[in-house]
Amino acid sequence: MSTNERLFNPAHAFEHPVTCWVTVGLVIALAISPLIIRFLAATGRVSDAHRQELWIRWRSWLIMTPLLIGPILLGAAWTILGVGILSLLCYREYSRATGLFREKVISLTIVLGIILITLSTFDNWYRLFMALTPLTIVMILTVALFADRPKGYIQRTALGVLGFVLFGHGLGHLGHLANDDNYRPLILMVLVSAEMNDIFAYLAGKTFGRIPLCPHTSPKKTVAGSLGGLILTTALVMFLGQYVFEGTVLAHWYHLLTLGIVISVVGQLGDLMFSSIKRDLGIKDFDVTIPGHGGLLDRFDSIVPIAAVVFHYVNYFVGVGSDEPVRIWSTFT
């Protein structure tokens, strides 16, 4: 596949079996969910209020799924753009929740940093992508000086650095995965396993959960839920991974096992990280962007650390986009 085809051509969208399975699986899941909700309601297993909640959540997934899958199927350029927009929206929620949005100059610097991260990804310029984090941090610390207001300087800049590192650099890795020739199944596997990790942990916790995992951070999580999520997600990653990484060293069972455990554990930790942020701020949800789910960050919290960890795991052993031309647009010959 040429670079232009990877970036813009949806003709190859369904070449890989994992892409087909995930897409078909999601369509089926969305189609049969109403039947399951009706069945649960008819047999009296859920209360009226809970049933309403499930309908709202289903409707939100009905809109979210095409928004997530669509760009991935269309081409790498759209995926990178989509991740860039997601990063900006996540930063918006974070800054409004923490109050950092009142520091307009710091916020503007972070937004520019996220835009540059997106452009460097689009260019497959990995060195710039990596350089942008220290450079943006220096920039945040610099622009915060101009107010000549040392009181609260550490807090302002530290909040800014955390915001940029989480949503610009961390989430940016998800976009950078799109520079791999085989990006569709890889990103779909990351997204599906991260979301299924939540669902598996929820179901396992509902069925077996008794001992709370960390009652102060997230009172509803249980040890059984966490372990259930770990086992089922690892199995899912091992199953999908053997096709995604076919023909590479990562297709070995021990790599798949490690990757599965890493995705599940890091995903659950990501969930707890953002729960801690919310508890610290004294808010329940980051926003009301997605009806029934809360803010984008309440839904995609686990993706933020997973993206970086999976990227570097794959990049270390086989290389992400190593066969692709680098600096696609910024080299002039």
Partner: protein
């Protein structure tokens, strides 16, 4: 190091339509950019099309909080009043707009919130809570309000009596209230016309008044309304004609007695 002194946005967790109407709405980067664009456009438009003149600019306080009050006879009024203010204050200027006109239709409400940065005043059911919320924000943030105490646009160009509700918000506070007289807005955009005509507009800005010693009860509120109306009127053509022979600043006379 300071204690943690950051708090979530006042309108966090509200759906967009509710956030637009919220008195606790705060500007993010996006709306700040829109305000900047909008007010730059308005300022240029007023200078070119209406040859806007500002008299008494030195009377404007340098920093918030302060309140601008003026006579109200056209939809241009709030734009004209905000135009001479320092551009670094753009996020802190809130025109107080009629809720039933500007905040019932979602599109107009988005415009009022994102471009004008307006806050709603619900004329029919504006209770003490809303006024108290506005007062708190004015002082704590601090910010600048643009207010039309007549409570509606004059259909004839003649000033209507000022409402006492404004007094409820301002009595007993140290916030400077700047009386302004808008000259030419009525001729430029009459209630029956759709598009503004090319008429010159002048703002006359008076010396700020303070009502920190006025008691926060009905008599005080009414007194504030009367004093402000006199101050605005004195800046207009009628007031200037009256005060010219004596030369005495008539707007300060009733104020003195209140402060003593």
């Amino acid at each position: 190091m300071d204690d943690w002194n950051y708090k979530p946005a006042g309108d966090l967790g509200l759906p967009h339509e509710e956030a637009f109407k919220s008195l606790k709405r705060e500007s993010g980067l996006f709306s700040t950019a829109l305000h900047w664009l909008w007010w730059s456009f308005v300022r240029t438009y007023l200078l070119i099309w209406h040859r806007l003149k500002v008299e008494g600019r030195e009377n404007l306080p340098k920093n918030p909080p302060f309140v601008l009050v003026a006579n109200h006879s056209s939809h241009l009024d709030a734009l004209v009043l905000a135009a001479p203010l320092d551009s670094r204050l753009r996020d802190q200027i809130f025109p107080i707009a009629a809720g039933d006109v500007f905040f019932t239709n979602p599109a107009i409400s988005a415009f009022a919130a994102l471009m004008l940065n307006a806050l709603p005043m619900w004329r029919k059911q504006c209770g003490p809570h809303a006024l108290e919320a506005l007062k708190r924000r004015l002082i704590d943030e601090p910010c600048c309000y643009i207010l039309f105490p007549e409570g509606q646009r004059s259909r004839t160009g003649e000033m209507l009596p000022f409402k006492a509700g404004l007094g409820m918000m301002l009595a007993g506070t140290d916030v400077p209230i700047v009386p302004c007289y808008l000259d030419g807005c009525f001729e430029a955009l009459r209630p029956e016309t759709k598009w503004p005509l090319r008429r010159p507009i002048t703002i006359h800005i008076g010396k700020p008044l303070r009502f920190d010693t006025v008691p926060n009860k009905r008599a005080g509120w009414e007194q504030i309304a009367v004093d402000l109306q006199a101050a605005v009127k004195a800046l207009g053509p009628a007031g200037k004609a009256e005060s010219r022979p004596s030369g005495a600043p008539m707007l300060n006379a009733p104020m003195k007695s209140l402060h003593d």
